[in-house]
């Protein structure tokens, strides 16, 4: 089928994408879009450098392969094998969403669904601005490589998300508050009965808008919701687990030695592309099957995330984390579904242990280098083990490694959340769908600003 240049490693990834979008703002239908696209990403490796091309002309893939080979040096077979020996040679048809593809759902049904959610917030005198959107995507991928030419059918797999976002803004002038309810599933049908959940969330936001008070900055014990814990795990530790930051770097390898204690005994973090949701990645963009990678096990560094290049450099196994945002980009090491594992403490016990602290329920955004920050959206004061009132402040922040060590308890129920309308950004590649979550997580000595 494809004419892979002799001696080189080469692969071809073809993506066929269906997407639709419906957006209503302040009661008006502002956008309706439905589209199907296809494109291919082609890679060739000569043992020294990688050569990539992306194209929308699927009939030109063999020509692209020939052009890439012209750019390359003569193949260094030893160097090539050092990378490709680690690659899995999966083949077969693993598509699971063809029968219930969002492409099969009539667009009018999607508009009607969104209308039913928009009705929850329309004509509400306290909501000064609102928007509601439905978006979905079904991506089918075909993967062919020079390692697996006997299986001409290649590897076929797919991913799918369908989701809703309701953005509301209460108030005017200096007293304004914005919040977004977002829910994503892998099937359209699962979005049909979430109205009560959405309504409850909007009412919580209204209460926050009406009652939230400024709180003095300082050092507090903080309880993170599953959403906040997931963002913390993703931003503060997940990115540090991506092994492309360690290539050829002795200091990083020494610092991030497997077996080293990096957090408290209450902390375990996992990345797993098998989890259904927006991080679902049954195979990565090098054809590697998803696996459950334990990054931290009870405070001890246990693993990291790889593509074939980083796995070869660190002499470790691939983990199914070579991902790209589209056919226009090369796969780089990315997270899938990243979460903190549940512990033994009940949620009530977790709160009961806080004399005066902060509960962060929802988060606008987070970031994490040596210092992490979370910008809360809805946060609450905890007094004598109980949530007493909503409070306002800009960010919580702290040293990542110290904070990992200050996690003193996690609750016993895990919640992994999925999203539409955004994703993870790394260098030039944004947005990549991911999911994250955790139990409720209690952390001491957090700086509130």
């Amino acid at each position: 089928m494809f004419e892979f240049p002799a001696g080189y490693y080469a692969d071809v990834r073809i993506e066929r994408v269906f997407r639709s979008l419906v957006r209503i703002e302040m009661g008006r239908l502002e956008e309706v879009k439905e589209k199907s696209d296809a494109g291919a990403f082609i890679r060739l490796y000569d043992g020294r450098r990688w050569f990539y091309a992306s194209t929308t002309d699927l009939s030109a893939i063999n020509e692209e392969l020939r052009q890439l080979a012209k750019l390359a040096s003569p193949p260094d077979l030893v160097a090539i094998c050092r990378v490709t020996d680690r690659l899995e040679k999966n083949h077969g048809d693993f598509r699971r969403f063809n029968d219930n593809s969002v492409a099969r759902v009539d667009l009018q049904q999607k508009i009607s669904l969104l209308d039913s959610y928009a009705a929850l917030i329309n004509n509400d005198s306290q909501i000064t601005h609102w928007s509601a959107s439905y978006s979905d995507g079904h991506t089918s991928k075909e993967f062919y490589s020079s390692l697996n030419q006997s299986n001409a059918g290649g590897l076929l797999f797919d991913t799918q998300t369908a989701g809703l976002r309701l953005g509301v803004r209460f108030g005017s002038g200096a007293n304004v508050f914005s919040e977004t309810w977002c829910k994503a599933e892998v099937e359209f049908e699962k979005l049909g009965n979430l109205h009560e959940e959405a309504k409850k969330y909007v009412e919580q936001a209204r209460d926050y808008y009406q009652r939230a008070e400024k709180i003095e900055g300082g050092v507090y014990t903080v309880i993170l919701s599953p959403l906040a814990a997931g963002i913390f795990a993703h931003e503060s530790f997940g990115h540090k687990s991506e092994a492309d930051f360690m290539i050829g770097d002795a200091a990083m390898l020494k610092e991030w030695q497997i077996g080293k204690r990096v957090g408290s005994e209450n902390l375990s973090i996992v990345d797993d592309g098998n989890v259904a949701g927006s991080g679902f990645t049954p195979f990565d963009d090098e054809g590697t099957r998803a696996c459950r990678t334990v990054l931290i096990d009870r405070g001890i560094l246990q693993g990291r995330l790889h593509n074939s290049i980083t796995a070869a450099d660190l002499d470790e196994a691939v983990t199914g984390n070579a991902r790209s945002i589209s056919f226009e980009y090369e796969p780089i090491v990315r997270m899938t579904a990243t979460y903190i594992e549940a512990g033994q403490t009940t949620k009530d016990q977790l709160f009961a242990g806080v004399e005066r602290g902060i509960f962060i329920d929802s988060v606008k955004h987070g970031s994490g280098m040596s210092t992490f920050t979370l910008a809360p959206s809805m946060a609450y004061l905890i007094e004598n083990g109980k949530i007493t009132k909503p409070v306002r402040f800009a960010v919580i922040t702290g040293n990542v490694m110290q904070t990992l060590d200050h996690i003193d308890a996690v609750s016993d129920e895990l919640e992994i959340l999925s999203f539409v309308g955004g994703g993870c950004g790394k260098m030039e590649q944004y947005p990549l769908p991911v999911s994250f979550g955790g139990p409720y997580v209690r952390v001491n000595q957090i700086n509130v600003q």
Binding site: M26, A53, R169, G248, A251, S367
Partner: protein
Amino acid sequence: MREKVIQQVKQTSLSIVQNSISAIRRKNIQKTGCRVMRGDKIGVAGGLGESSQDELYARAEKALAWGVDYPVTSGKELQSHTRLDSLKIDDAQLGQTVEQVLSELKRRHQDFAISNKVNYSQISLSIENDNGLSLSHQDSYVNWSFLLKSSSSTGIMDTFFGLIDRKIEVDRVIEATSQIIEAYKKQVDLPVGGLPVILHQSALTRLFQRDLNGKIVGNKASLLQKQFEQKTFADRFSLQIINDPVETYGPIFDMEGAICAEAQRWLIKDGVILRPYTDKRTAQRYGFAHTACADGSYDSVPSLGGCNMEIPHSGKTLAELLPEGLGIMVAIASGGDFTPDGNYASPVQVAYLTDGTRLLGRLPELTIKGSLFDFFGDDFIGVSSDKFYAGGNDRMLVTKLAVEKL
């Protein structure tokens, strides 16, 4: 009425790992969007590659049935063609140039590693319609993006150099990157007495993206709702829409094919809030001036997203804006945010002490805090007339903020 949007990106991208080029990526992708406007409705459709325009228009025609409101007049007979694509470099030359830079930096700084990307892009965007609208924008530039990391560091990165330029000035890239590395290696204490803080404008003007958005203002949901036509900020503080392709690396026209009129470009003038920014739909719906800020992708219904805005420069250089001769240059401030009432706080992961011409050393990790009404009010100092090459060749904002060691 039919309207066509064509976007083309031709790009060569070099990946850098540990001071060496590890990969070369080439792409050349065309995206075409077609719009049909009839009555007060719009239908859109888009496709990749050599799409059949007849088919796209047929799909856009069909999409009219969804009833998306678009009760505006489409652009007529406006013609504008900008060509800034004089930078031509082939893949081999680009590779040699980047290798030259990496080699020299490696020679100078053996204790620092460079990674990430250098991209050479040739881009074009055009909008044409049945009413004689004909707009196009062509540009070509190199985007240098270096993550810089000390060999003894255990973080993902320590600092960075980033620059978009229509020229390839190898020596300036080497010198600016070297200056950043040297400054990073030289730790200095935070001087006592509040020094002014130097930032990229967008770090602090982003609140205006939300609170001067015509939809937010039109629905009376802005933080600044009660301050329109009132003096709210310093006399010397103004904010304008900027659509100069030389400065923005974007087209002069918006995604509705409109160009902001000179008389409407000021959002804030001499401290007085004048108007929100708008697209056609928002301007018509709420009775605001049309400022030509429609956003969206090639195949979207054009709508109001954000806009390019800038505080005009003060006529003084960065050095002249530093009353004590020193300032705190914020290089990386990740994770900051505004509270709904306009208070800003952010950790600063990397900051340098500067005299306005050179980076003098790396300051400890900091936090910065302030209120919108102060840092663009009495505490506002100005925007530099000169561009700071090591800071991305931008004009820098200077103001006072509360600064503390983290």
